[in-house]
Each structure stands twice: as structure tokens, then as C-alpha cells.
């Protein structure tokens, strides 16, 4: 587990969101609205690992989408590193230091493992059409630096294991197994310069060996004083890794305490 909590890195104040749908009944046009999150307020500290738990449809992924800027809340404020980012776009939030790993492997299947790592790099040199053509020397050296960093990350994560992503660095990411894709999704986090990482069910659907890999990776992220906010159903995983558990029920926070306490309460 990580060291004691330090400064607040993320603060949510009264976040609410509801989804509505239009439908017809007896020839009348009606609108049905469902409140997914109700006045969510929470704080995350630097280097903390916080697990977000709750049943299906409790609003966990919606909350992650709001924090990462993929959804706009109906009301409330989001403060990250002391700045109000409520109206920032997703890419601006990522640039500011909010990383995201999705539940359904949002990796790029038609480029290699290494290219997946490169695209996640915080260095964006050469990403305008004419720069890489006219600044070839710098472009090549930047690519080498990216490659070195990606190799170091893959080596550090999988040191001593065979058949790892390091050996498959030039394979298309779409050819990896499900578990390897999840590892790649997590490995990409290390390429960025994030201060807060949102992990959506990192251990879902993978075997014990890979779960242990992911567990170690989460700890390594936290050791770099990066805050980890993760959605997880696996209780042993939560107990092993997290400092705190927040429990959501019907869009409301019902518990916010140490893992052992929350897990014993929810049974």
C-alpha cells in the first residue's frame, strides 16, 4: 500500500447527471429521465489508491467518464491539482495529467504494441504533418527516446517472464490475447505524465498470473506518487491494493472508508 495521504489531487463537488430518453406511448411523445449520479462529492489525495465499488448500473463508469471529460455532468464542479477543470475537454484533462484505462480494452488493434506505447507518450514532437518531414534529425531522435522509454517500461513490468509484451513489441496489438491487451492498456499509462489514473476493472476476465502482474503494476504506479482510482469487483484485489474504498449505490456514495470496513459491511 502507498504511504499516508498528502495533498488533494482531485476534488468532486456535487456532481449529478441524468440520462433521458424520448419514447411514444398511446400516440403521446413522452420523456423518461433517470438520475445516474446524485450529488457526488469526494476527494482523492496524492499517491492514494482508492477503489470504487458498487453494483451494476450504480454509476461507476459514468463517474469515470465525467472525470476524464467524456461526459459532461449536469451540475457540480471538478477541481484537479487546484484548477477547476469542469469545462475542460477530454484531451485537455489528459494533458493536465488524468490517465484512463478502459474496461473494454481501448487499445489500437492495427498498430504494433510499440506504436501503442508511442501514441501514449507525453512527448508529441512530430505530430504535425510537416514537422517530421523538415526536422528529421530531431524526429528520429525523439522516436528513439520513445522507443527506449517503452522498452524500459515493458522490461520493468515483465522482468524475468517469458512470452511477454516485450517480446511481442512488434506484433499488431489486435493479435494479442485479451489479458495481454489489458496489460498493454495499463502499460500505456506509464508512457504518459499522469498524476491521476482511472482504471476501470483492470483485473476483469484475466487469469491469476496476469492479475498478479496488474496488481504489481498498480502498486508501481502508486509508488511514483500517482493517485490511482480504480473500479474493481474482486474483493481480494481491493483488499490487497487499495487504501480506501468508496461504495456507490443507486448513484449515491453510501460508504467511504478503509477497505476492510467497507468490504465487511457490504458482505
Amino acid at each position: 500500500m502507498s504511504e499516508a495521504a498528502k495533498n488533494t489531487i482531485l476534488s468532486l463537488e456535487n456532481i449529478s447527471i441524468s440520462f433521458s430518453r424520448d419514447y411514444k406511448k398511446d400516440g403521446k411523445e413522452l420523456t423518461e429521465s433517470k438520475e445516474i449520479l446524485k450529488n457526488i462529492s469526494l476527494k482523492l489525495d496524492e499517491g492514494e489508491i482508492v477503489a470504487l465499488m458498487g453494483g451494476n448500473g450504480s454509476g461507476k463508469t459514468t463517474l469515470f467518464n465525467i472525470i476524464s471529460g467524456l461526459l459532461e455532468a449536469d451540475s457540480g464542479n471538478i477541481v484537479f491539482k487546484g484548477k477547476d477543470i469542469t469545462f475542460w475537454k477530454a484531451y485537455q484533462r489528459a494533458k493536465a495529467g488524468i490517465g484512463r484505462m478502459f474496461q473494454d480494452n481501448h487499445i489500437f488493434p492495427n498498430i504494433t504494441v510499440l506504436e501503442n506505447m508511442f501514441i501514449s507518450s507525453n512527448s508529441t514532437f512530430g505530430e504535425t504533418p510537416f514537422v517530421s518531414l523538415f526536422s528529421r534529425k530531431k524526429s528520429i531522435s525523439t522516436e528513439r527516446q520513445r522507443e527506449q522509454k517503452a522498452d524500459e517500461i515493458l522490461f520493468e513490468i515483465f522482468a524475468g517472464q517469458s512470452g511477454t509484451l516485450l517480446e511481442k513489441r512488434n506484433s499488431l496489438a489486435g493479435e494479442l490475447s485479451y489479458g495481454e491487451k489489458r496489460l498493454l492498456g495499463l502499460a500505456r499509462i506509464f508512457m504518459g505524465d499522469y498524476r491521476l489514473v482511472l482504471l476501470d476493472e483492470p483485473s476483469a476476465g484475466i487469469n491469476e498470473q496476469l492479475t498478479n502482474n496488474i496488481l504489481e503494476m498498480v502498486k508501481k504506479i502508486s509508488n511514483k506518487n500517482i493517485t490511482v482510482f480504480l473500479i474493481e469487483h474482486e474483493k481480494t484485489f481491493v483488499l490487497d491494493v487499495s487504501d480506501r474504498v468508496i461504495y456507490l449505490k443507486n448513484g449515491k456514495i453510501t460508504r467511504n472508508a478503509a477497505p476492510a470496513i467497507v468490504l465487511s459491511e457490504i458482505g
Binding site: A94, F108, I111, I119, P129
Partner: protein
Amino acid sequence: MARRKGWCKLNYLLHIIIMINIYIILATSTNLLVGVTNLLSLGQAAFYGIGAYLAVYALMILNFPLIPTLIFVFLFTAVSSLIIAYPSLRLKGDYFVLATLGFQLIVYTVLYNWIAVTRGPYGISGISAPKVLATFAISGIIPFLILSTLLAGLTVYFFRHLIHSPFGRVLKGIRDDEISVLTLGRDVTKFKVWTFVVSSGFIGIAGFLYATYVSYIDPTSFNLDEAIFILTAVLIGGSGNIKGPVLGAVFVVVLPELLRFVGLPDSIAANLRQIIFGLILIILMRVRPWGLWGEMRIV
């Protein structure tokens, strides 16, 4: 007499090579949008037309020589693409396709009806040959062959480099998973606008080549049929890499020429050409959706 016949055959062959060069520029530029970034655009012939008319303006009104004309055409066609890029790039999927179709129809209508400027359906004839250093005029088939090969070669080199650059890598990322690119801190809209601008600029160059080579343009050369024809070259040859669109360009130019030798009656030859292209597309989409030489994709 025999020598004259031989010269005619050679001229015919060189003409085909020039047309292939023009279509290589059109197909490789369109590939950046369609194949690399997954933005299916039906508005490419509009930029082709804009480039052609801008070339006429630069050569005949401004009396620009070759290089300034190329720069002028490239820049202004690229800038004109912003008119459609900004509003339409906020749309996704089918809506984006429809927006580009709308743009194509608007440009065609303007070219057709703005008679004071474009001479509408009468077209503009006698387009002056571009001059190098204000003295040597590029007219005749050999100078055009050299110019078109040079420009097609530069275009292929540029797009090949671009596809393999960090910029191209982000475009492939957008093609595979736009949401993921956003959450990695890249402004997807900015990348799409760049793609549109660069692609349109080069298509403008193809318009310049066409206008100066044929020395006559009218709006029917830049209509929806032409837009679909350009797209067909990319889809048949294959997209995502540089080999596919180049092969597609060769294919769509050479196939109709080959059909001439089959001895089809003139009354059905043009329609049959369309039917054959249609059939090839249907078969390809069924058995080889990535085209003849395109990049195979994992869905």
C-alpha cells in the same frame, strides 16, 4: 505513315501515364482521409475542381509562373477545405459523409452557375501552359509527363512519409479508437482538420495538373461521379498504406482503356464501364474488403 502511327501510339501511352499520375495524386491524398483516418469523404472532386479553377486564375489572370502557381493552388485549396472541415468534423459516421456530399453538391452548383467567373457549363478553354522561369512553357506531352511524374512522385513520397510519421500514427489511432486518442491527450479535431487541409491541398495540385494538361475545364469534370470515381480508386486498390491507392489509380485509369480494345459498341461502353467498376467493388467488399493491395485490418 508507319512512323506517324507509332508516334500516335506512344502519345496515347504517355497520355495514359499522365492520367495515372493525376489519379495517383488524387487517390493517395484521399487515402489519408479515407484509409488512414477513416473519414469517408464524398467531397474530394470539389477540391479537385477548386484546384483546377484556382490554377486557371493563377495562370491566366495573375500570370504566375509554375512554382508560384503550385504554391497558390496548394495553399488556397487547403484553406478552402477549412470551410467544410470545421463544421463537418464535429459530425460522425454517416452524418459526416452526408456533410461532405452536401459540400460537393454546393461546389458543383457554384461552378456551374457562377458564369461570370467560371463560365459555367461553357467551361474555360485555352488554359495557358505554366511557365518555368517565365520563359519555358510546359506544353506538349513530354514536358507534362515529366511534370506530372515529378508531382506524383513528390506526393507519394510525402504521404508515405506522413503515414509512417508520428502524425500518421495518431491518425491510425483515430481510425481505430477515437475515444482512446482523446484520453491520451490528443486533440482529435485538430488532427482531422490537418488531415483535411493536407489532403485537399494535394488534390488541388491534381486539379492544377488536369486543367493545364487538358487546357479546358468545365464543372462536369468535378461532379459527384468524379468524387465516387476517386473513392473507387482508393477502395479497389486498397487503403491505409501507400501501395494500395497507387495500384487503384493505375487500375481505374487502365481498365477503361483496356475495355476499348474489347470492341464494345460506343452506345454501351461507358455504361458497361460503370457496371464493371460496380461489380468489382461488390466482389472486393465481399472477399477482400481491404482492397487489392491495402492494409488488412483487425476489427
